[in-house]
């Protein structure tokens, strides 16, 4: 079986004042259809740059070095023209960001932002797009979806906004979702809600997820495989069970040792 996503020798550099800064340093990995893979690391490890490179939305001062490839459903995204990438984004591959408040359009009703995904990808009938959006809002747990369709992002809580982001990302049942710290900005009880929702949606649509996170607890809770990044490189790639029970790299061990956990003597 060919992998859904195959990242080969990816290097990303950011232009600096004096020298270029290497954010991602020659990494390779694959994601199989329907699996949840964690990309774990601390700030500055290159995990977000990796996600942005796959989406093709790196900032203008970033550069992907020649010689690498990002193969997705059989084509190299690095060699794909922007027009075709735009057709893929939202339909075959989508992204959920950490701060839904920053990712949503503040002056557009949230329902319209969900419906827009359908309209951009070929839906001609505005009413059909609207009812698909309402249906999706119900699915992600907005209780009063018809009314909340008309809300603006600032009228919703952080958890609700992230549910809207999931609705946008998963409306067209893409093959891959890149989830960049989707629950890190949320309160603990809301984090548990959103994680459980993400897993339900993932199971339903058989979407593969590249889960970018700094939180090993979230990895233990949701992922099947993990890639540990440090200073732009993948230092360990393992099944989640091996990662927690037989970590090989000293940095993985440090991360595990530092993980805040509830100790129970019960």
């Amino acid at each position: 079986m060919t992998p859904l996503l195959s990242v080969e020798n990816l290097r990303v550099t950011y232009a600096g004042r004096d020298a270029d800064r290497i954010a991602v340093d020659d990494i390779s990995f694959t994601v199989e259809p329907g699996e949840i893979v964690a990309l774990v690391g601390e700030s500055g490890s290159g995990k977000t740059a990796t996600g942005l490179a796959i989406m093709g939305i790196l900032s203008p001062n970033a550069r992907v070095a020649p010689g690498g490839a990002i193969r997705f459903e059989g084509r190299d995204l690095l060699a794909t023209p922007e027009k075709e990438l735009r057709d893929l984004r939202g339909r075959r591959i989508s992204m959920v960001f950490q701060e839904p408040a920053a990712a949503l359009n503040p002056v557009m009703r949230v329902g319209d932002q969900v419906a827009e995904v359908a309209l951009v990808h070929g839906e001609r009938d505005r009413h059909a797009a609207r009812s698909r959006a309402v249906e999706m809002l119900v699915r992600v747990g907005l209780a009063d979806a018809e009314r909340q369709y008309r809300s603006y992002p600032h009228e919703l809580s952080g958890g609700m906004r992230q549910r809207v982001m999931l609705a946008i990302a998963l409306l067209l049942k893409p093959a891959l979702v890149i989830a960049d710290e989707p629950t890190s900005a949320l309160d603990v009880t809301v984090q548990a809600q959103v994680l459980s929702l993400l897993l339900d949606l993932q199971r339903e649509s058989q979407t593969a997820v590249l889960f970018i996170t700094h939180d090993l607890g979230v990895v233990a809770e949701t992922c099947s495989r993990a890639l540990v990044m440090r200073a732009g490189a993948i230092v360990e790639a393992a099944s989640v069970d091996d990662l927690f029970h037989a970590p090989k790299h000293p940095y993985t061990r440090d991360l595990l040792a530092a993980m805040p956990r509830i100790v129970s003597s019960r």
């Binding site: 601390e42 700030s43 809580s157 952080g158 958890g159 609700m160 309160d187 603990v188 009880t189 809301v190 984090q191 548990a192 809600q193 994680l195 459980s196 700094h214 939180d215 090993l216 607890g217 979230v218 990895v219 233990a220 809770e221 989640v240 069970d241 927690f244 029970h245 440090d254 991360l255 040792a257 530092a258 993980m259 805040p260 956990r261 509830i262 100790v263 129970s264 003597s265 019960r266």
Partner: protein
């Protein structure tokens, strides 16, 4: 006989006034909070966004006005302090904020940031200041040479060490740590937590530790209070609270902490609803709309449940705490 607590807060109330489009609005941020912190103890206030934990800390530091209640510090009436008395008191209580990226003046050097308190409180002058700053930087695990650097040249963990050195400069006895490790990476977080524990023990500090994550406080706190919508819903010695959590909200918060081993994965039913959802509260128990307790009924809405003692020092504000919940 129990010793007199260093800080004693009774029935603290804080209201925030805001106005949007000319409409004045009053939000009750802290609604009748009481607790004691003994000398050398670390008291953790835990809760989600908007529960009033930070407001409580600011009130304790006399950074904001309160609308009711009393606070005594070492026997003195904190709320009666004015002018010079308050100014002199300030060096006894210091704070470390959550975000070392915004709490340090980017234009000042580390030396100026750490030394400012020494100069303001006339604790050192001239070359003594630099010598004290060098000592403080070493105490928090930095180099004396870092005094000439600016915050932008430092990592998040190093900045938080600077913030701790600044707080310690005036030799306080009481330290408020407001989400002091929440913005840091996990490995840095563990190091800074260890540093805080070490400094606390070495200096005999009393701490008020504010956090949104129960997993972080278990290691450092002697006692924990869980806040929800401006009130303490459960408090007690750390072991009691973690081993026999009694309030459904405390249980839900503990349950929401991700597992630390993939083999412990389980189907879970997350608590519904939002802690930061606005709107008016129901009469009675504020947690009622989200409460998963099987025994919940109209009695919960009759009156705001008072904290009552379950065991030695373990208090809970739930009328159904003794009833089976599952």
């Amino acid at each position: 006989m129990t010793p007199v607590p260093l800080l004693s807060v009774r029935d603290l109330r804080v209201r925030h006034q805001s106005s949007g489009f000319g409409i004045a609005k009053t939000t009750v941020a802290v609604d009748g909070v009481s607790f004691d912190i003994g000398r050398g103890d670390t008291f953790a206030l835990v809760g989600e966004s908007g529960c009033g934990k930070t407001t409580t800390a600011r009130a304790v530091l006399r950074l904001i006005d309160v609308s009711g209640g009393t606070m005594r510090y070492d026997g003195d009436d904190l709320l009666a302090m004015r002018g010079e008395t308050l100014r002199r008191h300030r060096k006894r209580m210091q704070i470390v904020f959550q975000d070392p990226f915004t709490s340090l003046n980017p234009r000042h050097t580390v030396g100026a940031i750490v030394g400012e308190g020494l100069i303001v409180h006339e604790l050192a002058r001239g070359s003594e200041v630099n010598a004290r700053v060098a000592q403080l930087l070493q105490e928090v695990g930095l180099e004396p040479a870092d005094a000439t650097r600016r915050p932008a040249e430092l990592s998040g963990g190093q900045r938080q060490r600077v913030a701790i050195a600044r707080a310690l400069a005036v030799d306080p006895e009481f330290l408020v740590l407001d989400e002091a490790v929440s913005a840091l990476d996990v490995t840095t977080q563990a190091q800074v937590l260890a540093l805080i524990a070490r400094l606390r023990d070495a200096r005999g500090l009393t701490c008020l530790f504010i956090a949104h994550n129960l997993a972080v406080v278990q290691q450092v706190a002697t006692a924990v209070a869980v806040m929800y919508r401006g009130r303490i819903v459960e408090q007690g010695p750390t072991a009691a609270l973690f081993e026999t959590p009694a309030h459904p909200y405390t249980r839900a918060m503990l349950d929401a902490v991700p597992v630390s081993d993939p083999r412990d994965r389980r189907e879970r039913t997350p608590l519904a609803g939002d802690p930061d959802a606005g709107g008016s509260l129901p009469p009675g128990c504020a947690f009622f709309p989200r409460c998963p307790h099987l025994a919940k009924d109209d009695a919960c809405l009759a009156a705001v449940p008072d904290l009552h003692e379950l065991a030695d020092g373990h208090l809970v504000a739930c009328t159904k705490a003794a009833a089976p919940s599952l």
